[in-house]
Symmetry: C2
Subunit: 342 residues, 2 copies
């Protein structure tokens, strides 16, 4: 996150006013002096409500949308701006697409410190740059105090499909499940920050873009049957949703959870398998590609590993096997362990 | 707005719970029983975070985003769902594009009556159908009570460009300005509903899609220099933004304002030229095409008319000429007359 000083004089408008969302000269000031200063590119600079994208020469496109309402706005390892870019970039990557263009919809609450907005925008800009995507259009609304929570962000993205997957066949018997790193950090980091909990070391969110990793897998000739990032509902929910007509067997000991995260979860009554991550994914690949795929993943993160296999079954199920031979069936939670996590 | 009865039993969950946004089984229930029931199409039905769009065979795409925070959610002539679809459809149409695919990002406030959500979704569905667009991906977040205002909606859309315009040349000396109908109704309708004001007749918002009108103009061979819908900031702001290096002369008497809207504005201290509309646009066309374009517009709405001309000038300006010979220069407002109008 590169934070130069905010270009809007904070003495005159230290906080967001309703007029900043009115579409008049104050809105224009915000857009030109703050947003364009950080996010500038030729498409955004047209400042039209809509933008014409460069010709896509017969590429097939993927599209995705996500709103971000995480509380607090800033947390160890990230902030709402970084999350909003990573989340949508990751959803496109999970479609086998190379993320290209993002839109940015801001709902600001009257009274938000302008300096906080500046930090969020800087983070959006730095993350977009790191992911190789452009913010091409935006929209800013301001709601009266007490009808928001600082900043809500919607990012919607399009990208060019590199690897087409059939959503109806997410896995086949014999496939293996690969996980790209440890799980549970994002949710615990948010909760700790929100509730003022302190652990021996600061637990940092895993918030990060996954398009680089997916690109590396595709470059290596891997053709995943399906990919899923492990956000709301965590690893367990992602697998339950994918395993609609197969039986997945997971080895509990193969799923890395940092010791500090594990203790925090125990203390807080959370199951790390259901805790949201923001930079973790699973890939379902044919057994023949497992080794090559794992090599690519381990290069990015040594914690990556093969966590399970897909078996034939009449009805979908996900079973977690412990080293002691016990088996536990994983299912969808009715809600979520923590609200406002993303 | 077609409102069948809500498919989710209201006795069990009469209002939105935080768990509806948790990504678990309650979220799934909402999506499958409510959203898919109304918005169903093969792309949305995949229920993936991202969706692969059908091949676009070398079409150039336009993209736009908008968040909607209008208060109240329901008003004469429309509601937040209709607005969210029309607004984004209209922004694409203003790019000379045929709107095709929309995403729908919902930020729901805990405690929102499920039945209100159902009405909004029905309205989104009916309006999308009327506009010929598909909702292809969505996202639902729930924020705790006191951090939202019922429903906030983001719609982001893509569409195929039919007529490419140069944003740097919005108008040329000699061009004429055409307006597609009366102005000021949306803002006044919202304010009246919000403040409980009563006029002799109910003033209805002009909220409506404009892609049909733009399609008809293009079908007739009209090649507008620029088009702009008259939302936040109204007719005056749109013209001031377009006239960055030309002088626009408007005839006040040519700009239709309904008598009741005019009186309401006088009473409330509003200028109808700055009041937001949600189904009104201007087209800047070369003089040679003016008559043909006006004919198309008048077929859609007899109130359409030619309201001004573009003159040569060193510096951009918009001047309103009255029938009595007085001239008034229009400029950007610093904020907006009414917050939360869209």
């Amino acid at each position: 996150m590169i934070v130069a000083s905010c270009p809007i004089p904070l003495t005159r408008y230290p906080t967001v006013q309703l007029a900043h969302g009115g579409g008049g000269s104050l809105t224009r000031k915000l857009i030109e002096e703050m947003f364009l200063a950080v996010l500038d590119n030729p498409l955004l600079r047209t400042l039209q409500d809509g933008v014409v994208l460069p010709e896509t020469s017969n590429q097939q496109l993927a599209m995705t949308t996500d709103s971000y309402v995480v509380h607090p706005l800033f947390f160890p390892g990230g902030d709402i701006g970084k999350m909003a870019v990573c989340g949508t970039v990751n959803d496109l990557a999970m479609c086998g697409a190379e993320p290209q263009y993002l839109t940015l919809g801001l709902i600001l609450e009257e009274g938000l410190p302008i300096d906080d907005l500046w930090k969020v925008i800087c983070s959006v800009g730095a993350t977009a740059k790191a992911c190789g995507v452009q913010i091409v259009a935006g929209d800013t609304k301001v709601v009266d105090k007490g009808h928001g929570d600082g900043v809500y962000i919607n990012t919607t993205g399009v990208g060019a499909v590199r690897h087409l997957m059939d959503p109806a066949v997410a896995m086949k018997p014999g496939d293996v499940i690969l996980l790209c790193g440890d799980v549970g950090r994002h949710g615990v980091a948010i909760l700790a920050e929100r509730e003022g909990l302190e652990f021996q070391t600061t637990i940092e969110s895993d918030c990060a873009p996954l398009n680089g990793l997916v690109g590396a897998l595709l470059d290596a000739g891997i053709t995943p049957r399906s990919m899923r990032d492990l956000t709301r509902g965590g690893l367990a929910t992602a697998l339950v949703e994918l395993a609609s007509d197969c039986e997945v067997e997971l080895r509990a000991s193969a799923i890395p959870v940092e010791a500090e995260v594990g203790s925090a979860c125990e203390l807080l009554g959370l199951d790390p398998l259901y805790v949201a991550n923001e930079g973790r994914m699973i890939a379902v690949v044919a057994k023949a590609q497992a080794e090559a795929a794992l090599e690519v993943m381990k290069k990015a993160n040594p914690d990556a590993g093969m966590i399970g296999v897909v078996k034939e079954a009449a009805r979908g199920s996900v079973t977690l096997l412990s080293d002691f031979g016990t088996a536990r069936r994983l299912d969808l939670l009715s809600g979520e362990q923590l609200p406002r996590i993303c």
